[in-house]
Subunit: 216 residues, 2 copies
C-alpha cells in the first residue's frame, strides 16, 4: 500500500461521507447500502471498501469526526474571555456549524443507537464528554448570575442539544434559510430564555470561529 | 374473525407498541425484528402479525397515532382563551407529554426517513399540518406583539420542534427528571426566549390537559 498521509486519508473519508450523506437523505440511513454510496461516488464498490470496511465503520467515522470537531469548538469557546451567556451563544452557533457545515454526513450523527461495538463505547464517551461541556457552560452561567437561579443546567442543556441536533433533519445547504441566520435566531432564543435580564442582554457581534473549518 | 371494536384494536396495538418501544431502545429500531417484539410480549410471532402486517405498518401506526394526538392537542391549545405566549407554553408541554406519556413507541416517531409508501405520504401530510400549527402560534405571537418583532416564526418553531422531539432520545419514564419538570423548564426557556418583555412575563399555572390522555 502506498503511503498516504493521515490528513489525506481523513479528507478522502470525508469526501465519501459527503456522498454517503446525500444517499442517506434520499434512501434513509438504514436502507442505503455500500453499493449505493459507491454509485453516488461513481466508483466500484470494492474501492469503497478500501476506505471503510463496512457501513458501521463509516457511521463510526462520521460520529467521531463530528464529535471531535464539536469538542475542539467547545474548547475554543471555553477559552474565550466573554460572559457565560455569550459563551453559550457561541456554542449554539458553533454546534450548528459543526453539524451542518464543517463535518459531512450529519444525518448519520443522529444514529446513536445504530452503532455497535467496538465503536459504540468510544463514541459514547466522546458524546458524554461534549454534553458535559455544554452543561458546564450553563452551570457556570447560573453561578455567575448570568442565568436565572432556577435554571436546571441539565435540562437547559438537553433543550439546547435537541434544538441543534435536530437541525440535521431539516437543514439544507443552499436552501431558503442560510445557516448563519438560523444560528443567530436559535442562539438568541435559547440563550435569552435563560438570562436574568434579557432586556439588557445583547448577542455578540463578533465571530470567534471566523474562517474556521473543523481542521486543526 | 370475531368482531373487535375500533378502540379495542387501537388499545391492543398501543400495548404492542409499548413493548416494541422497549425493544427499539435496547436493540435500536432497525436491528429489532418482529420476533424480538413478540418475545418481549411473550406471544408467538404469528400472533403479532395478526395486529401488524410488518414493521413498516407498526412504524406507520406509531407515527400516525402520535401525530393524531399532537394535532388534537394543538386544536385544544388553539381554542384556549389565553395570550399567544401562553399558548406556545402549553404547546411545548403538550408536545413533550404526547411523545413521552400519551402515545407509546416514541423512538419510532423520529424514524421519518424510514417510512416508505403507502404510508409515507399520508404521515408526512400530518407532520406538515402539525408543524404549520406550531408555526402559526409563533406568527400570531409576533403579530399580537407578544413576541419580538424580529422573531422568524419558521426558525423559532424549528427550534421548538427540535428540542421537544429530541426528548424521546433521552427521556426515561421513572428517571431522575420527571416529565412535568422538563416540560416547565423547556417551555420556560423556549417561550421566554421569544417574548418582548420576559421580565413581566410569567408561565401559566393551570394545566389545560389535566387528566388527559390522547383519547377522545
Amino acid at each position: 500500500m502506498v503511503h498516504i498521509s493521515k490528513s489525506r486519508v481523513r479528507d478522502r473519508r470525508r469526501e465519501i461521507l459527503r456522498a454517503a450523506s446525500h444517499v442517506f437523505r434520499v434512501r434513509g440511513f438504514h436502507a442505503a447500502g455500500m453499493r449505493d454510496i459507491a454509485n453516488e461516488l461513481g466508483i466500484a464498490v470494492g474501492k469503497l471498501y478500501y476506505w471503510f470496511e463496512n457501513k458501521q465503520e463509516l457511521l463510526a467515522f462520521c460520529q467521531e469526526d463530528c464529535l471531535t470537531a464539536l469538542l475542539r469548538m467547545a474548547t475554543r469557546t471555553r477559552a474565550l474571555n466573554v460572559a457565560d451567556s455569550t459563551r453559550l451563544w457561541h456554542l449554539v452557533v458553533g454546534h450548528l456549524r459543526c453539524l451542518n457545515e464543517w463535518t459531512p454526513g450529519s444525518l448519520a450523527h443522529l444514529e446513536v443507537e445504530s452503532l455497535v461495538e467496538p465503536h459504540r463505547e468510544r463514541i459514547q464517551a466522546l458524546r458524554d464528554q461534549y454534553e458535559d461541556r455544554v452543561r458546564a457552560v450553563v452551570s457556570d452561567g447560573v453561578r455567575s448570575g448570568d442565568f436565572r437561579p432556577e435554571v436546571d443546567a441539565k435540562v437547559a442543556s438537553l433543550c439546547v442539544l435537541g434544538a441543534t441536533n435536530w437541525s440535521v433533519k431539516w437543514f439544507r445547504s443552499g436552501g431558503a434559510l442560510p445557516l448563519n441566520k438560523i444560528g443567530d435566531a436559535f442562539a438568541d432564543q435559547l440563550v435569552r430564555g435563560l438570562v436574568v435580564d434579557p432586556q439588557t442582554w445583547s448577542p455578540p457581534t463578533d465571530d470567534p470561529f471566523s474562517g474556521d473549518d473543523s481542521d486543526d
